[in-house]
């Protein structure tokens, strides 16, 4: 009787244990990350032994199930796919970070460029003859600064002192300029720009621009005796004829005029008469003296 009771007690305990307990396997360093089991090892079919292959066939043909090895390989592939998606997600995140970084740098550069002088107000006196490149040094082996398109506007600054076939220029890039070196053979000069008389000083009917006045409309001082070119312009709305010391001089299409005058040691008097339709509108009489 006692034995029966003991046997039943043991049975009950076993039932309780079995009923109440949840499988709580122990943790191991060998476990796959984030799991409680060892990483699955997939033995590819071609590497399986004859016995393993026979086991596979029995499971497939007899029980219409996957063998243990086949299950492990299937799990391994699922794990690989999961890992790939995760890596891809990580790459997207990294790319986003790089783009953000570039944007930040770009903003910083933009800011620095906005602080730089604009080149849009400069007359670019040269052009590129062909497509070429702008370099940081007078050498084709140096860093490339920019591509130069054919006919791109260039501002010639100076020849290279060490490489006589190279010149330092500014390349017009929108409103900004890229400084750099370009081979001379690719530079050509634009046609000379006719400089019009500045509008703001056209208030005078006749103006002398070269040489400068020592006393306006009274005296010009030159460094030596000899011939000198006097340049000036007229207000063409009010003057259509210029007579210098009784000789008519040509007024150019841009309203400028020039003439050569001999300055003697004792000085020379110049009389400029400006007429409109034969009527005198302005007369300037001045002295040119030798310093």
């Amino acid at each position: 009787m006692m034995n029966k009771i003991l046997i039943n007690l043991i049975k009950s305990l076993l039932i309780i244990i079995l009923m109440s307990s949840t499988a709580s396997a122990h943790k191991s360093k060998k476990h796959a990350p984030g799991s409680k089991f060892d990483p699955v090892v997939c033995i590819p079919p071609e590497e399986r032994t004859q016995a393993q292959k026979t086991s596979d066939n029995i499971a497939n043909d007899l029980f219409h199930r996957l063998s243990k090895l086949q299950q492990e390989c299937a799990i391994f592939r699922i794990q690989q796919l999961e890992k790939g998606i995760e890596d891809a997600n990580n790459s997207v995140d990294e790319a986003k970070e790089i783009i953000d970084e570039i944007k930040r740098e770009n903003d910083a550069l933009q800011q620095s460029l906005e602080n730089a002088a604009l080149c849009s107000d400069i007359t670019f006196n040269h052009k590129s003859k062909k497509s070429t490149q702008l370099f940081s040094k007078p050498s084709a082996k140096s860093d490339k600064i920019a591509d130069v398109k054919s006919n791109a506007d260039l501002l010639y600054i100076s020849d290279s002192s060490s490489q006589k076939k190279w010149s330092f220029v500014l390349l017009m890039n929108g409103k900004k300029c890229n400084p750099g070196y370009i081979q001379k053979q690719f530079i050509s000069k634009k046609d000379e720009v006719v400089k019009e008389a500045p509008k703001e000083v056209k208030a005078d009917l006749i103006s002398i621009t070269k040489p400068t006045w020592s006393q306006k409309e009274k005296l010009i001082v030159v460094p030596a005796s000899g011939f000198i070119t006097i340049k000036g312009f007229v207000d063409s709305a009010k003057i259509d004829q210029i007579i210098v010391n009784e000789k008519e001089r040509q007024i150019n299409s841009d309203d400028t005029f020039s003439f050569n005058i001999r300055v003697k040691d004792a000085g020379t008097e110049v009389r400029i008469v400006g007429n409109k339709k034969g009527e005198t509108k302005k007369t300037i009489t001045f002295q040119i003296k030798v310093k």
Partner: protein, 459 residues
């Protein structure tokens, strides 16, 4: 009464002596078309005039001051020569520099012309790059001061725009005025070492480029003034630097009259101008009528060779354009009396064109009776054939002289691509041709020589 008769007799005797040649009627009556041109040396006044010297200060001239290894640099010495010659030929020397403008030079700057520093440009790169040399400004000054001698030292590379339209007029106008006043322009070209930048090279796209690899390049000295001074400067440069070889030297003289002299005025026509065989002809004589017209008198037949030759050196101003076209004015008179004492009248014959002119580099030949041969003339008559030889049109020899150193704007880019060691002058030939054209316009038909043949055509 007796005294009156004596006076009348003396007057008649004097008159008869002075007309002796016409009394015998050995020549027909004709009017001698005497030339006044003696030696073409213009207003060769011994007075020293003003000399204006202009140095081209454009940056490209710097290349002439820097030695190029292996090449002879004459620029520095010739600039020295010019300063010295100017002092010799002028009473007052005024120095200027020019480029886009003309500016007077201080004395201390004159010595710097031989140095690189003189050509350094202190302006902006835009104003210093591809500077123009406005040679037309010098012509304008020369027009205003025609009595002075103007000496210009320049590279003489001229853009197309300087040689057309209004800018060309600024050269042609003053030049016409100067030539009409008897002035001339000498162009002295010297091939010199060069170590610098040749800029202002036009491209086909209408832009400008430059060339840095030239080792030689010509520079030029233009002299505007009297031929005497021009020749003096030229001779001095030749003597100092080109006495052994003129390979690197060229010279042209642009003048309204490339005729050196009239051969009659200085009695330069001689027996030897005709073939030597003529002097052995029967009754040959050679005499001047009125100390002006040479007459070859002889008895000839249809085979008599009558070629009148004259050296072009005696006719054309050395270095000038020369003469490209000559013409003759010819007249023939005949008489049936072969002996002078029997001749009463000469009859002017209407033969039309009688002789032909030909020339080579050295000689001008008048082939007498080539078009109307002697064999077609009546024999047994005496003929008096008078010829006036004229220069009709000036030549183009100076263009040919400089063509070797000249390059057209349409060809200069290709020239640059060939990386030439010796670079040529842009539009030089065109510039010289403009000067020649102006001298052609001011040229007047000029009598060079007159002579006659007086012969009996024997059977």
């Amino acid at each position: 009464m007796k005294q009156t008769f004596i006076q009348i007799f003396i007057v008649l005797l004097t008159l008869s002596i002075s007309n002796a040649y016409s009394a015998e009627k050995c020549e027909p009556d004709f009017e001698l078309n005497k030339a006044t041109l003696t030696q073409n040396n213009e207003n060769s006044s011994s007075d020293k005039g003003e000399v204006f010297v202009f140095f081209d200060q454009s940056k490209t001239m710097q290349g002439f001051t820097i030695d190029q290894p292996g090449q002879e640099n004459l620029y520095v010495n010739i600039v020295d020569d010019i300063q010295q010659i100017s002092e010799n030929i002028g009473s007052d020397i005024v120095y200027q520099n020019f480029g886009t403008d003309v500016n007077p030079m201080e004395d201390r700057d004159v010595s710097k012309v031989k140095t690189k520093k003189f050509y350094e440009c202190s302006g902006s790169s835009v104003s210093c790059d591809n500077q123009s040399s406005k040679i037309q400004e010098i012509f304008k000054i020369a027009e205003d001061y025609p009595e002075a001698t103007h000496i210009v030292v320049t590279h003489l590379s001229l853009q197309d725009r300087q040689l057309v339209g209004s800018e060309s007029k600024q050269i042609r106008g003053p030049l016409t005025s100067l030539l009409k006043q008897g002035k001339s322009i000498g162009i002295i070209g010297i091939m010199n070492s060069f170590n610098g930048k040749i800029d202002n090279i036009p491209t086909k796209e209408g832009e400008y480029t430059e060339y840095l690899d030239a080792e030689t390049r010509p520079f030029y000295i233009l002299v505007i003034g009297n031929q005497d001074n021009i020749n003096r400067i030229k001779d001095e440069i030749v003597e100092n630097h080109f006495s052994s070889s003129k390979e690197n030297f060229k010279y042209a003289l642009i003048t309204s009259n490339p005729i050196l002299q009239n051969l009659n005025v200085n009695k330069l026509i001689e027996e030897t101008n005709m073939p030597a065989s003529l002097a052995r002809a029967d009754n040959f004589s050679f005499n001047y009528i009125e100390d002006y017209l040479p007459v070859y008198k002889f008895s000839g037949n249809k085979k008599t060779k009558l070629e009148f030759k004259v050296n072009t050196d005696q006719i054309e101003v050395p270095g000038s354009t020369g003469v490209s076209e000559f013409s003759i004015s010819e007249k023939v008179w005949t008489t049936n009396k072969v002996k002078c004492k029997d001749i009463k009248n000469w009859n002017e014959a209407k033969f039309g064109e009688i002789s032909a002119i030909s020339r080579d580099d050295k000689e001008l030949t008048l082939d007498l009776f080539k078009t109307k041969p002697l064999k077609k003339l009546f024999r047994g008559l005496r003929y008096f054939y008078k010829i006036d030889l004229y220069a009709e049109k000036p030549g183009k020899s100076s263009e040919r002289e400089f063509s070797e150193w000249s390059v057209k704007s349409s060809e200069i880019e290709e020239l640059k691509e060939t990386n030439p060691v010796s670079f040529k002058t842009l539009n030089l030939e065109k510039f010289v041709s403009i000067l020649n054209a102006v001298s052609g316009d001011t040229f007047k038909k000029t009598l060079i020589a007159s002579f006659a043949v007086n012969f009996e055509l024997t059977k």
